[in-house]
Structure formats: C-alpha cells, structure tokens
Amino acid sequence: MSAKTPSRLEKILDSGQLAVTSECGPPRGSDPEAITKKAEMIKDHVDAINITDNQTSVTRLSSLASCIHLKLMGLEPTLQMVVRDRNRIALQSDILGAASFDIHNILCLSGDHQVFGDSSQGQNVFDLDSMQLIQTVRLMRDEGKFLGGDDIKRPPKMFVGAAANPFADPFEIRVPRLAKKIAAGVEFIQTQCIYNLDKFELWMKQARDRGLHEKVYILAGVTPFKSAGMAKYMKNRVPGMDVPDEVVKRMAGVSKENQPEEGVNICVETIQRLKECEGVRGFHIMAIEWEEKVPEIVERSGLYPRPKDL
C-alpha cells in the first residue's frame, strides 16, 4: 500500500504510524460554530475528523457543508456519505463538490434506515449500495470517469474508506464482507464501536488469515460510555451493537458521578489492548456529543502527540 492521494490520513497510515481519527456530528441548525467548536476541541489530537451524514436519519446540517467549515479551519475532514438519501447523480455531484474544496477522505456508508429518524414517512433512495459507492469513488478517482462513462475534468483525489461491523450477524460473513469491500476498492476501514474485544480479535484473526490486514488499513472504532444508562441503551437498543454484560455491569458498578470516568477508562483500556492486535492500524474515536474527552483519551492511550510535517 502506498499513498495515492494528498490525504494526510493516508500518509500517516502509509508511514506505519497508528492513525487517530474522530468524528463530529453536525448540528440541527445552521450555526457553523456548532461544528467549529467541536473541531477546536479535538483538532490537535486527531489526524482527520469524520463528519457524520444525517446520522440515525435525523435531519442535520449537511456533511459536505460541515466538511468545508473544517477545511476553512485548515483541518482534514472525512466526508461521510450515505446512499440512503442520494441517487447516483447526487452522489457523484457531491463527491465533485467535496473535491472542489480538496476534501481528500470519504467514508462510504449505506446509512441507517429512515424509520429511526425524524422523517420516517420519507422516501429512501438506495440507488447504489455502500459497496457500489466505493467502486464509484474509485472509478471517478482512478479512471477519471463518471458512472455514465464520460470523462471528469479534475477528478477527485480521495482516500476511500468504509465501515465494517464485526458484531453484526451473520458473523461468518463479516470477514468475507470485508474482503468484498476490499475487492470493491476500499482503502481504509473504521469499525463499529468495539466493546466485545474477544469477538473483535477473532474477526481480526480471521481477516489476517486471509491476509486482508495487508490490503486495507483498519481503524478500530471506540466510543466512551458517559453513563451506565448509555451502556444499557447501546446494548439493547442500537442495532448491530455488541456490549457484553460485564461491561454494562462494570459501568453500573460505580457511582453515578464516577461513571463518566469509568467510561473513559474502559475506552483507554480498549485502545491499549487493541494496539497490540496485529492488523489494527489506528483508532477511530466516536465520542458522541462528548468531544471534549477525546484529547484525554488520546493522551492516556499513548497516542499523543500526533505526527506533524508529513
């Protein structure tokens, strides 16, 4: 693997150093400070910042516009793009829009079903799926072509990512599914939040057995629990999430005021253990509406300072 785009994230991964990414959810309004303040909190501790795309199908300020705000701050955004809301015209158009601002990272996702959000009576699109969006970005970048076959003037230069959920069912196809995304052209993976480390390590082992860890950069996803209630909610209510009972018990076992600290402890311990897991090339810290904790997590995990001058 050698760097093919101007992406800083790609360069860091390519250099063999552990990468650190995080994410910011855009606001339910048009105040740009809601984005820039979150970014200020984490910018010195991460290499790139994902901007979520109407996550959980709740309507928010657009991912692309938010990424532009980050670019204007001199930061490196990762444009999350779901296929739920855009057909192939809109997807390609937004990719070009992002490329026009030199946004160099994209994360190709299917997106939560709209039933979860504020527009459950709305249409969905799903013209392409996430696998096909990966192929589309690679086609646009590498061949300079639109899906329709025409040439693109100044093609996008994007480092292409996708999600992987080692914990969704059926487990037996989770590694074949990763292989499929790699075959589609994905270059980095950010995983679902990891709480069940044994299962994650099994998934990584199966990926290594097929040599997949040498074909894609895998960033392990972590999310600190703010409270025992959040742990229970994630365990019981969030589809595709695997929170073992002992983790919920550990959170519930400390007093309410100490639960945030315990959540951060679990997160740091997870990162420390997974640093030793062969094939894990970095971490994606999703501190949901708790961005101020990212610097502490990064520092305590021994991932600070971040590389400069690449």
Binding site: R84, R88, S110, G111, D112, H113, V115, F116, N124, F126, D127, L128, D129, S130, M131, Q132, Q135, T136, L147, A163, A164, N165, A168, D169, P170, E172, I173, P176, A179, K180, A183, A184, Q192, P239, G240
Partner: protein, 222 residues
C-alpha cells in the same frame, strides 16, 4: 398475487355518501385470495353500507357484483349494460382493477374500496408478506431465490448491512433480514463462495424509476 387490505368503512362512507345508487364490485382473483375484495367481502361491505345509511335515514341503494377479473376487458365488459344504472362504483379490486374500470366506464365515478399493498404470498391465513417489486430484471438466480430488492429494507444488492441482528432487520424484530436468508440458503446450496461476487450497480430503468412501464409481445399480439 397482488395483496390488498381493506379500507376503513368510514373512508368508504365518506366517498359514496352523496350518491343514490352505488355498486360494490369485487374481483375473483388476488383480492379474493387475500380476503380483501372477493364476493364475500363485497357482501359484507354492501350489508354494512346498507345498515349505515338506513340508520342515517338515507335511501341509498347498494348493489353487488363480483367479476372474474377487473384487469381484463372481457370481464369488465359484463358490466356494460348495467353500469348506467349506478351513480358510482366502489371497486374492491386492486388499484389496477379500479383504474381499468375507470378507463372503461369514463362517465361513472369509481372509488377504491381497498388499499393495494404489494405482490406477495400468504404466509398463513391472515398473514401476507411481500416478495416482489417488479423491478423488471430479475436477479433471483444470483441471490439464492430470495429477493433483496423487495425484502431488504435498504434494497442492498451487496448486503447485509451492519444492522442485521440475530437474523432480523434493523427496522423491526418482526422482519427477517433478507441477507441472512440469502446467506443461509447459499450455504444450504453449497454456494456460499458466490457471496463474495460483487453485485454490479443496478439498471433501475426497468423499475418504477424508468417511468410507467409496458410489455409488448409481438409474438402473441393480435
């Protein structure tokens, strides 16, 4: 079959309350099988309407008929001689039948008596579920005979998504994950290796996206 569900009687009353003589027209095909618009349901609806209007002190006449099919000229023609007696028709056929009736009897108001839902199967009496969305380019040969377009909530051609949990879809615990079903059957058929073939971007032009569709068969055309 085309699966339909009954409309609430209040909605039907609201549509026809201004007429003097109405005809309830059933269909002996799909809507009979799914117990929404066959001869039996025509009788039940007609009786309920008569009772309602009688209680309201209104003199409204309600007649009944059930055609073999409402999607063919031949059977709809059976109403040609009697249609002018009626101020309005409530068709209990699917949306196809309602429209074909309206096209044929241009001067007679035709109202839908059912909500047309989908193309599907009878899982058990009283439970019907979707199997096909008529995309115009069948891919069942590639997906172990299980359609991800009609049965995956995201129509993923390369599923499952990260929301598949214990065989169920992220949108409902009552809904099977189509991709779990596909994988189970690929395994049963000893074809699981096919899972890793990437399904190409679909040409949706033969689906709803391409506009109203027609099939023209010169070989059978007269």
């Amino acid at each position: 079959m085309i699966v339909a569900d009954k409309k609430p009687i209040e909605e039907i009353i609201d549509m026809v309350k201004g007429y003097q003589k109405i005809l309830i027209a059933g269909c002996n095909e799909c809507v009979t099988v799914c117990e929404a618009g066959g001869k039996k349901e025509v009788g039940v609806l007609a009786s309920a309407l008569r009772m309602y209007f009688m209680n309201e002190g209104k003199k409204i006449e309600v007649d009944e008929i059930t055609l073999e099919r409402q999607c063919d000229h031949e059977y709809l023609e059976e109403m040609r001689n009697s249609i002018d007696q009626y101020d309005a028709v409530v068709s209990l056929a699917c949306g196809v039948g309602v429209q074909f009736m309206a096209e044929k009897y241009f001067g007679t108001p035709v109202y839908p008596g059912v909500n047309t839902c989908f193309m599907g199967v009878t899982e058990e009496r009283g439970v019907w579920s979707e199997r096909c969305q008529g995309c115009g380019q069948c891919i069942l040969g590639k997906t172990a005979g299980i359609c991800p377009i009609s049965r995956c909530a995201k129509r993923l051609l390369n599923g499952p998504c990260g929301g598949s949990t214990q065989g169920k879809c992220e949108i409902s615990k009552d809904l099977d994950c189509a991709w779990q079903l596909i994988i189970d059957r690929l395994k049963e058929l000893d074809r699981l290796d096919e899972y890793e073939e990437i399904a190409p971007i679909k040409d949706w032009s033969t689906e709803r996206a391409g506009g109203p569709r027609r099939v023209v068969r010169e070989d059978v055309r007269q």
